[in-house]
Symmetry: C2
């Protein structure tokens, strides 16, 4: 009985890790769509988001069934609750990749971004995808040391995000107000994506160690 | 035993409702601070946010204890899980009120907003506070019909938010890029605040009816 239960718990974690891999791929494609004004790729991300939502609904349903049927305690209980929370965060990461893809589609065939800010988004995209993949590994391996590295990558994201604002706000900004608005929101989508990855990693640390690292507010804009 | 358990569950819901009331008050004060460049009020909101975080941590701890000690099933299980989810959403609403207050503080003694967009924020603030208060009542009363009204108020918020963008993007925008960036982010904070209120209301419907209303994506920016 407990054996079957641990199998189910392991399968849940695998599905969560798969889901986290999916949103990492989505953000990678959305970033390419954004930087290269690739409409087909944007459409692909937009079409695929429902799959992420389905996985999340399935994970939540299975978690509820586990709680109801097995009534786990201690670490097992914490694990199931962490999975429920994490699935919510990862779904949200998928929504943020979706927002990036929709921005790329909305301005197509024009580029949403001015050439001077594209390098920021190339780098924020790289970090976002890396964070999603590291988080996937943290879920699979429950490696606490690795989870802590994720916070460093998030700091790099916050630095880029802050710096992006100084570029938009600079008197030499050439792209007008509409582009400033798009660039501002896109910057926030990447920053929030990273925050959610950190939140999932922290929940994993909580499961392993029994202690929750400090709740993080998102970067102070 | 089950009696004591239902008392505990009722107390949890009361704490959640109180927390929701707190973030409604925070958003009300943050909006006044924003519209009237009131630094003292902004500081008060910023200082009070830790109290919201404390209530959330306490609710989560008590919920975990309930699950571990009582192993509830069926509606009772759904209720505890809804409380855990809702506490996360309400904490996030508090963070968004905090962001509004910090924006007001950052530009003080100047106003963050141009006079032409202030009416939008007065109205978005009014709806946000109304949503928080209605959600508080939904938690207390578990009134499903009332929860559905919350979605109407959220539609009004989305309309205002969309309209705000047409104002910022208009060629007659007079306030420059920096103000457009601030106004864009502030608009998003109000819109997300409303989305979280809707999410809490939907979870409450789920507890009462056993059916989850459709998962909402946030407004397509």
């Amino acid at each position: 009985m407990r054996e079957a239960y641990h199998d189910q718990l392991g399968q849940l974690a695998d599905q969560l890790a798969d889901m986290c891999g999916m949103v990492g791929d989505a953000m990678e494609r959305a970033t390419t769509a954004l930087l290269e004004s690739d409409l087909a790729l944007a459409e692909q991300v937009i079409g695929d988001d429902a799959k992420v939502d389905d996985v999340r609904a399935s994970i939540e349903e299975q978690s509820y069934a586990l709680l109801a049927l097995q009534a786990p305690v201690a670490t097992d209980l914490r694990t199931v609750l962490a999975v429920i929370h994490a699935a919510e965060s990862v779904e949200r990461m998928g929504d943020l990749a979706l927002h990036v893809a929709k921005a790329a589609r909305r301005r197509h065939p024009q580029s949403v971004l001015g050439d001077d800010v594209k390098p920021y988004f190339a780098e924020m995209g790289r970090i976002a995808v890396e964070l999603a993949r590291e988080t996937t590994e943290v879920i699979r391996t429950q490696d606490v040391a690795r989870a802590r590295l994720i916070e460093d990558a998030d700091d790099a994201m916050d630095d880029l995000h802050r710096h992006l604002f100084t570029v938009i706000m600079d008197k030499d900004w050439q792209h007008g107000v509409a582009s400033a608005v798009d660039t501002t929101l896109l910057g926030r989508f990447y920053e929030r994506f990273a925050d959610h990855a950190v939140s999932v990693a922290k929940r994993t640390v909580f499961v392993v160690t029994g202690r929750m690292p400090g709740y993080g507010d998102d970067a102070d804009l």
